[in-house]
Structure formats: structure tokens, C-alpha cells
């Protein structure tokens, strides 16, 4: 990675830490340069020049014009969340629900694909961290159910942030018992089918 790319990545990382105070705004990206451990900024301070945030032109040049810059920041924030999920000792669900404003922004775009992709990434990462050993159709079913639970919890958090964790817990519990119930139903249906097959065979209809 070149020095230029490293600097850009560094600025983006600093900007994600400013999301709490400035939100997903170009302002957060502009102010990221103020926290850069950069020799030049130290020198300019010594020259009695005030350290200035990046201009709008500079933000557009580095991160994209208009909403593209905000989207870049959101994706950087979400990527950081997923890395944090992998490396942190905190329960994954705490990290899950910390990403709510980003999910909201992605959902409100005219294109729902970014939000769906993000939900799938979270589900895949969560399944991997929990050492899921499902195979074939169960693999997909597990991830689809996790993605659905995550999306529901994020949307629930919009209206009732205080109950979001308990809502997520109930969904996760419900999903595992639902899985158990579905397996039982499948088994019972299999028995019923075999029974009827046997009955029809004994009557000479099959």
C-alpha cells in the first residue's frame, strides 16, 4: 500500500472515531486531518497558523462528491465494526447494535442492496465466530435467519433503543427454538408420510 493510500486510510479511520460527535457527515471527514499525527501540522502550529479542517474540495477529492463521501465513511465504519466483532472480547450483539445509524442510512437509500449486503456480512461473520458447522441448505438457512434477526433488531432500535438488546435476545432464543421446532415438524411429517405410504401399499393402491 502506497504512502498516499495509507494516509487516506488513516484519515478514514480517524473520521470513524469522530462519528459519535459529528455523525456521518462530511464534517467528520474534514476534521479528521486535525487529529492526524502529522509532522506538518505540528510545524504549522509552530508557525502560528491555525490548523484547519480539510476544505470541501479536499474532502470531495479524497472521499467523493456529495453523499458519496458519507457513504465512504459509513462503509469504513461498518468495516471497522466487523473487524471489532472478530477481535473483541465483547459479546457480538453489543457490537451488532452499535452500528444502527449506519444501517438506517443504508436502508434509506433508494438502493436496498447495500443494507442487505451489510446484513449478510454481519450474519456470515457472526456464524463464523460462533463456529457454526452447518452444511448445505442449513448453512444458508442459518445465515438468512441471522441476517433477518439483525435487520429486525436494527429497525427495532430506531423506535425503542432501550429495549433493543432484549429484543435481539428474544429473537435469537426464538430462532434457535424455532429451528428445533422446524426439525421436529420435519421429522413428524416424515413419519406421517411413511405411515400413509405403508397404508396405501398394504391396500394395493401403490
Amino acid at each position: 500500500m502506497s504512502a498516499s493510500s495509507l494516509k487516506r486510510t488513516q484519515l478514514l479511520k480517524i473520521a470513524t472515531s469522530l462519528v459519535k460527535t459529528h455523525g456521518f457527515t462530511r464534517e467528520a471527514l474534514a476534521r479528521s486531518v486535525l487529529y492526524l499525527p502529522n509532522q506538518k501540522h505540528v510545524e504549522s502550529k509552530q508557525d502560528n497558523e491555525d490548523c484547519q479542517p480539510l476544505s470541501d474540495t479536499a474532502v470531495s477529492s479524497l472521499f467523493g462528491f456529495g453523499d458519496a463521501a458519507r457513504t465512504t465513511l459509513i462503509y469504513a465504519w461498518l468495516d471497522e465494526g466487523i473487524n471489532h466483532m472478530s477481535n473483541s472480547s465483547q459479546p457480538a450483539r453489543n457490537i451488532f447494535l452499535g452500528r444502527e445509524p449506519a444501517f438506517t442510512w443504508l436502508s434509506l437509500q433508494f438502493d436496498p442492496l447495500p443494507a442487505l449486503k451489510h446484513a449478510h456480512r454481519i450474519a456470515d461473520e457472526a456464524a463464523y465466530l460462533s463456529m457454526d458447522t452447518s452444511r448445505e441448505l442449513a448453512w444458508y438457512a442459518r445465515r438468512i435467519s441471522l441476517a433477518g434477526i439483525y435487520s429486525a433488531a436494527e429497525l427495532h432500535q430506531l423506535t425503542s433503543p432501550s429495549t433493543a438488546h432484549s429484543f435481539l435476545d428474544s429473537l435469537l432464543t426464538g430462532s434457535s427454538s424455532l429451528e428445533q421446532k422446524l426439525d421436529d415438524v420435519m421429522l413428524y411429517s416424515d413419519y406421517v408420510y411413511k405411515s400413509w405410504k405403508g397404508i396405501l401399499k398394504s391396500r394395493g393402491m401403490l
Partner: protein
């Protein structure tokens, strides 16, 4: 060193350029240490490029805008408008801008007008720098027709973009550096970029509008045909100077591609967006023109 002259020696037919000659030569060098550069499709000693480019622009200065309109069918105005509006001068307060190779003042005027009309900014200033006195004279004449004449908002300086005088163009002093349709005429693009980096403040932006490689496979052949057939012919008909316009067309083809130029900008120390259209550069009309930007961080 042996020098072979294969072309004809041309004499300009108009009253302005009757005494000027343009010699087209192909040359081969047995002295391998001599630094060479391109002049259109020709390779020439690097030290000769500056004077040859000067001759070209001395020749075209008085009809520069007419020729731009004829060559690009007026589209160059749209590109320049797009260039300036993407920079948003004045949005966050007065800016100190430097417009290099901006002799006729096209970009400078647009910067000042944009800041005034959009943000009621009458403090933004532009220093127009050009190596060619004739082009600066044209720019000065144009500005006399505007409200910026005799104000501190615009000034004109004759200087070499590769070696801006340090006493006049101090380190870390500008908020915006622009160069439009000029960098390809410089002998050493890295030197221009190095100077741009020097004079810009930390956090300031470098912006370059230049002709570039057409990426659209349908547009490419049409553009080539138009460039090499129509434009030199227009040069002959409108100004009587085919050779200068032939050079202008050839110099476009020799300019680095979009990713190559973005890398050169990074090599000078600037930080750019990703190496894709819409990030480190922004193609206009399929790459016929292109806006490259970089930030000094």
C-alpha cells in the same frame, strides 16, 4: 551528434507571425547522455522544449479562445465550468488561489465569478501565472472588461511552473492550485507537481484539467479522426499556422494516462482518492478531458 532534418521549413503567412519560423525535424542522437523529451510526437532535447512551446503559444495567443471554440465546438467552456464548480471556491470563506498556465484568465475569471455569485465572496483572490508574456497580456486585456480589474482579487505573474520564484511564491501559502490545459506543455511534469506541493498549504487542493485518454471504444476512433484531420486544418484556415495546432493535438496523445498521472500526483506527495474514475480523477466526455485532484495532507 548528427542531426537529420526531414521536414520542410515553414513560414507563417499572417501579419503577426510572418517573421517567425517553425522548424520540424526528426533527430537522432549519438550522445546518449542528453536528456530528451517529447514535443508532440517528436523527441527533442529537453532544454529546447520550453522555447518551442513558447513559440507555439506566442503564435496562438491572440486567437486562443477562437481556436478553442472551433476545436472543441465550444465544449471547452462546459469543461471549465465543470472544473471550477467541482472546486467550489469560496464555500468555506476566502481562498488564495494560484492558477498556473492560466494566461488568458479563463479559469481565474470563473473562480472569482463562482465565489462571488454562489457565496457572495469578494475576498477570494487568484494569482495567474504563465511563462508566456503574450498569453498573460491577453488575460490582462480580458480582465480589463471585468469588475476585478485593478482590484487585489487578481494579479498576473510571468513565471515558470517548474521553478516558481521562492521569494514571490512562498511555501505553504495557497489554498488552491489549478492548472488547466497547461501541464502537458511543461517539460517536466514531476517538477511542476513538486512546485505545486511546495506552494500549497497543508490541507489544500491541487486540481488539474487536461486532455486525456479516451476510454470509450466507440468515441476513441472518432475523436482521433477529428483531432488529426480537422483541428490542424482549422489551424490553417483560421490562423494560418497548421504546425502549432498539429503540436497541440500530438501533445495530447503523449500525455500520461489517467492512472499514470494520478500516480505522478501521488509521487509528488499528494494524497488522492482511489485509482478509479470518480475518485482520483473524473473523466469528462469519456476521457476527452479529465479532472485530476490531490490533497496536500
Amino acid at each position: 551528434m548528427s542531426l537529420l532534418c526531414s521536414g520542410a521549413i515553414r513560414q507563417s503567412a499572417t501579419r503577426k507571425w510572418a517573421s517567425r519560423t517553425f522548424i520540424r525535424c526528426t533527430s537522432s542522437y549519438s550522445d546518449r547522455d542528453q536528456k530528451t523529451t517529447s514535443f508532440g510526437f517528436k523527441t527533442i532535447p529537453a532544454h529546447e522544449k520550453e522555447s518551442m512551446v513558447k513559440n507555439v503559444f506566442d503564435s496562438v495567443a491572440s486567437n486562443y479562445d477562437l481556436m478553442n471554440d472551433a476545436m472543441s465546438l465550444g465544449v471547452h467552456r462546459l469543461w471549465k465550468d465543470e472544473f471550477v464548480s467541482s472546486l467550489k471556491p469560496g464555500r468555506r470563506g476566502p481562498m488564495r488561489c494560484i492558477d498556473v498556465a492560466g494566461g488568458t484568465g479563463d479559469i481565474a475569471l470563473r473562480l472569482l465569478d463562482f465565489a462571488r455569485e454562489k457565496y457572495a465572496d469578494r475576498e477570494t483572490s487568484v494569482e495567474v501565472v504563465d511563462i508566456n508574456a503574450q498569453m498573460l497580456k491577453e488575460g490582462h486585456r480580458r480582465f480589463k472588461q471585468t469588475m476585478y480589474h485593478n482590484t487585489p482579487q487578481v494579479s498576473f505573474h510571468e513565471a515558470n511552473a517548474q521553478e516558481l520564484p521562492v521569494e514571490k511564491f512562498i511555501d505553504n501559502s495557497y489554498d488552491l492550485y489549478t492548472i488547466a490545459f497547461g501541464i502537458r506543455n511543461c517539460t517536466s511534469i514531476p517538477d511542476v507537481l513538486k512546485e505545486a506541493y511546495r506552494v500549497l498549504k497543508p490541507g489544500a487542493t491541487f486540481a488539474c484539467l487536461e486532455f486525456n485518454k479516451v476510454t470509450n471504444p466507440l468515441l476513441g476512433p472518432i475523436y482521433d479522426q477529428y483531432s488529426f484531420s480537422v483541428i490542424p486544418l482549422l489551424g490553417t484556415l483560421l490562423t494560418g499556422d497548421r504546425a502549432s495546432y498539429q503540436y497541440l493535438v500530438e501533445s495530447i496523445r503523449k500525455f500520461p494516462s489517467q492512472p499514470e498521472f494520478a500516480q505522478m500526483i501521488r509521487d509528488a506527495g499528494f494524497v488522492t482518492g482511489k485509482d478509479i474514475d470518480g475518485a482520483a480523477w473524473n473523466n469528462l466526455w469519456g476521457g476527452v478531458a479529465c479532472i485530476h485532484t490531490g490533497v496536500k495532507v
